[in-house]
């Protein structure tokens, strides 16, 4: 029996964290919302611990092992931070792209949850991201992954109509109902309302849409063995060796094992001294010897060919966050809902203001991390959310965010006044 394909996809993203904004600053001209110093410091720290060494290793592996291929999704706000804080990081990604063995995926430019709120905004951000990837890497993405793998039938259909061949999703047990995550699925057939189709058509990425979109599912058990459990001494699988892991991969069977994870796994979440880089270095070599092929999402779909795809029916949203695998990490409490409603409530005013600077900060405020920092569902135990937050507490996150929203509103009102004054001249 042929072993499954192994498909790596790494998410690369950094948000723009907020400054300690104050009420007294609201409405001030030229007010900046973001903590440039902190964002730079974090970017450089992660660059040194993860991006640069991991990219060096990937380049070495891609050059050494002919069949080895990987894929990335680089958020637009990450790429902007590269341009601001890390040209070296950007160059190292370009070097990876130049091997021709790296697939870049499309996502929302601002790593946003716009799919949950505004179709128009969602499409604009996807378009903007695709253009960015094209201009930097000369690559036109064929596969889409939504922020934090937020997925449902409707999002998949929108993405299909935009012209993508495939979309990534979490292999959530309750939707798989006992089936393997290791093969492509598709959505049930349905038709979106006319008005939605019209909006989507305006933002098409590819001229043709596939008849059915391929849904590639994250094998979360095997992915999380690396991403979360690799250095966990209380884990039964510790310490994890490349040959053990490869055994697990082949035993998992099916068409392809999709290992999807944050790129920061390498060197940032799992520190270098855990041996994570050595582990990664050993894998392609071992796979070569065992005749195991790697594939990017596009080649996984190509290899599946015209075979029938089973239905992955997501009526409600699934994501890759927390054990709930739903939206509760970003929209689980009152302050998150207030922030979410607040930011998307400004869409019309922002867009009709035709003020590029306001549009830019409004969009940067849509980055999902802002809502994640306000999550309180496990706040009592102090867990992963706390670890990833740059702020004291979810309430501090909201305090800063609400000040930024107030300032945006004030600026919009000012714009409005200026415009009507001009009209009245």
């Amino acid at each position: 029996m042929t072993p499954p394909l192994i498909s790596f996809y790494f998410q690369v993203h950094q948000p723009y964290r907020l400054r300690d904004l104050r009420v007294t600053e609201i409405g001030r001209d030229g007010l900046t919302y973001f903590d440039d110093e902190k964002n730079r410091a974090i970017f450089r720290k992660v660059a040194e611990k993860c991006y640069l060494p991991a990219n060096r290793l990937m380049l070495e592996l891609l050059n050494r092992h002919e069949g080895f291929a990987i894929s990335y999704s680089l958020s637009g706000v990450f790429l902007e931070q590269c341009e601001e804080y890390g040209q070296d990081v950007l160059d190292s990604f370009k070097a990876l792209a130049a091997t021709g063995k790296v697939e870049f995926l499309a996502e929302t430019y601002y790593h946003s949850l716009s799919a949950l709120s505004s179709l128009e905004e969602f499409c604009e951000q996807v378009e903007k991201h695709v253009r960015k990837i094209q201009s930097l890497f000369g690559f036109l993405p064929n596969i889409f992954r939504n922020t934090e793998l937020v997925f449902n039938n409707e999002i998949a259909e929108i993405v299909r109509l935009l012209g993508f061949q495939g979309i990534l999703a979490e292999g959530a047990d309750h939707l798989l109902a006992g089936r393997t995550p290791n093969q492509p699925y598709t959505t049930p057939q349905f038709t979106l309302p006319e008005n939605m189709q019209t909006i989507i058509k305006r933002h098409r990425i590819h001229r043709e849409s596939p008849k059915s979109i391929a849904i590639l599912l994250k094998n979360y058990r095997l992915s999380d063995d690396v991403a979360f459990r690799f250095s966990d001494r209380s884990w039964v699988g510790f310490p994890l060796h490349a040959n053990t892991f490869t055994n697990w991969l082949t035993a998992s069977g099916g068409h392809s094992v999709n290992l999807y994870m944050d790129y920061e796994t390498f060197g940032e979440h799992q520190w270098e001294d855990t041996g994570i880089f050595e582990f990664l270095r050993a894998l392609p070599h071992m796979w070569e010897q065992w005749n195991i092929a790697t594939a990017t999402p596009s080649t996984v779909i190509d290899a599946w060919g015209t075979r029938q795809k089973e239905i992955f029916d997501a009526h409600t949203h699934v994501s890759w966050a927390d054990i709930e695998r739903d939206l509760s990490a970003w929209r689980g409490n009152r302050i998150q809902e207030a922030a979410f409603a607040g930011i998307y409530g400004l869409e019309e005013a922002i867009k009709s203001s035709q003020d590029e600077a306001l549009l830019d900060v409004w969009r940067k405020l849509q980055t999902s991390d802002h809502f994640y920092y306000m999550c309180t569902k496990y706040w009592n135990d102090g867990d992963v959310h706390k670890y990833f937050s740059p702020y004291d507490s979810p309430y501090e996150a909201y305090r800063r965010y609400s000040h930024a929203l107030c300032d945006l509103k004030t600026k919009l009102a000012k714009n409005q006044n200026t415009k009507s004054e001009i009209r009245n001249l």
Binding site: D20, R22, V23, T24, N333, R334, I335, E337, A338, T376, W379, N380, G382, D392, S393, Y395, E396, Y398, R399, S402, H403, C406
Partner: protein, 409 residues
């Protein structure tokens, strides 16, 4: 395993000035409820000598309460002690007073002597002291009964004095704590002070937070959010008006808020030696109509204030725990806490500020007033913590400290 704890307390409700008495009572009740025996030794505080204090513990049949009269009071300084001593000497027959020394030092010594005398007939497994006033008594009793001494620290001299300690008290504390077999700190915040400022090894200290003395009040009526439209928003401070509680920082923040939002009112409930200075300061800051000094309030009045307040602020300079914050939370009041406090460790649903950052404190107040969802969430989430923070739970943690020290682990 049921234990018999010989406890040297200080204040005890209803005769109490601060959190120490409340915590002591909570702990005693928790231990009794878990089936343990507690012998509580209490001194009398100054003017209450004639008061036949009835502690009213109908279910606490194990509790043998002995009182040792003493001139010491927990929040004493040498000056206030001497003043009270003079007053006492004038009011009472000499025979009644000469039991006690002429100064703080000999009073502690007298307390220590009496404490041992009174507990001779008891047969404890462990001796448990509360704060520095009872440490030497506890030490002697432990030595006499040949059982370990557990010293619980509710506050240090450094907290009370904003790092300008009475060196005699500080030395008493340090000596007493070093002599104890095991130390219980009311928070990690206090544990860090003991390690950093008293040179105690961290492996000797366990942290057991205080329990909540109040269950969450039903939130059927939740006036905090709705009343803004009709009345002045009100920001509340409750605490002794001493330097430790940060009342001047509260005034500073009030002044900043007032400049931006003049309709907000500030209530300072509590009494203390800084009262007149604070009143003067508030007048000179132009806050005469903005800050209201409510004085010491009754339980009922406090309840009304909590329910009326848009937000409760605890700006303490150094707060080992801060029970008052739990009281505010129990009434569904959103809280802003000093980062220099122990209670923040058990109340994650709060806004936190460094006590000196009054600009940020003002900012947090204004944010709570402006952002209804924030106020609502703090109001609904924080009280849930009280369910876990029962005295029974905390007493069981104390019990495991007893076990540890008795087994010499």
């Amino acid at each position: 395993m049921a234990m018999h704890s010989l406890m040297f307390g200080w204040e005890y409700p209803p005769k109490h000035l601060g959190g120490l008495g409340v915590a002591c009572q909570g702990l005693v009740r928790g231990l009794l409820k878990l089936g343990n025996r507690v012998t509580l030794v209490l001194p009398h505080g100054g003017v209450d000598t004639d008061d036949n204090l009835d502690l009213k513990f109908p279910t606490e049949s194990h509790l043998q309460e002995m009182r040792i009269r003493s001139m010491l009071q927990p929040y004493d300084s040498p000056a206030t002690y001497n003043a009270r001593l003079a007053q006492q000497a004038a009011q009472h027959p000499r025979a009644d007073v000469n039991l006690y020394g002429k100064d703080l030092g000999s009073a502690v010594w007298e307390y220590e002597q009496l404490a041992v005398e009174l507990t001779k007939e008891t047969d404890p497994d462990v001796v448990h002291s509360h704060d520095w006033m009872t440490l030497s008594a506890g030490r002697c009793a432990a030595r006499y009964h040949r059982v370990p001494l557990v010293a619980q620290v509710h506050a240090t001299e450094l907290d009370r004095t904003n790092n300008k300690p009475n060196m005699w008290i500080y030395d008493q504390e340090r000596k007493g704590l070093r002599a104890a077999d095991r130390i219980i700190a009311v928070s990690n915040y206090t544990k860090n002070i003991l390690v950093r400022e008293y040179g105690i090894h961290e492996s000797k200290i366990d942290v057991v937070h205080n329990g909540a003395p109040f269950a969450a009040v039903s939130q059927a009526h939740s006036p905090h959010v709705h009343q803004h439209a009709t009345k002045h928003p009100m920001i509340l401070f409750v605490g002794r008006l001493t330097v430790q509680k940060g009342p001047f920082h509260f005034l500073e923040a009030a002044s900043t808020v007032h400049a931006l939002k003049p309709d907000v009112r500030f209530v300072m409930a509590g009494d203390g030696y800084l009262l007149s200075e604070l009143m003067d300061r508030s007048l000179s800051m132009g806050l005469g109509d903005t800050v209201i000094f409510a004085g010491k309030v009754s339980h009922n009045e406090a309840r009304k204030l909590y329910e009326r307040a848009s937000c409760f602020v605890m700006p303490s300079i150094s707060e080992p725990f801060g029970l008052v914050a739990l009281e505010a939370i129990a009434h569904g009041t959103p809280v802003i806490l000093s980062k220099q406090s122990g209670v923040r460790e058990v109340i994650p649903h709060s806004l936190l500020v460094d006590f000196w950052d009054t600009e940020k404190l003002a900012d947090c107040i204004l944010t709570v007033l402006r952002e209804t969802p924030l106020a609502q969430q703090l109001q609904s989430e924080a009280p849930r913590m009280l369910q876990h923070l029962t005295w029974e739970n905390q007493a069981s943690k104390i019990l495991s400290v007893y076990n540890k020290v008795c087994l010499n682990l």
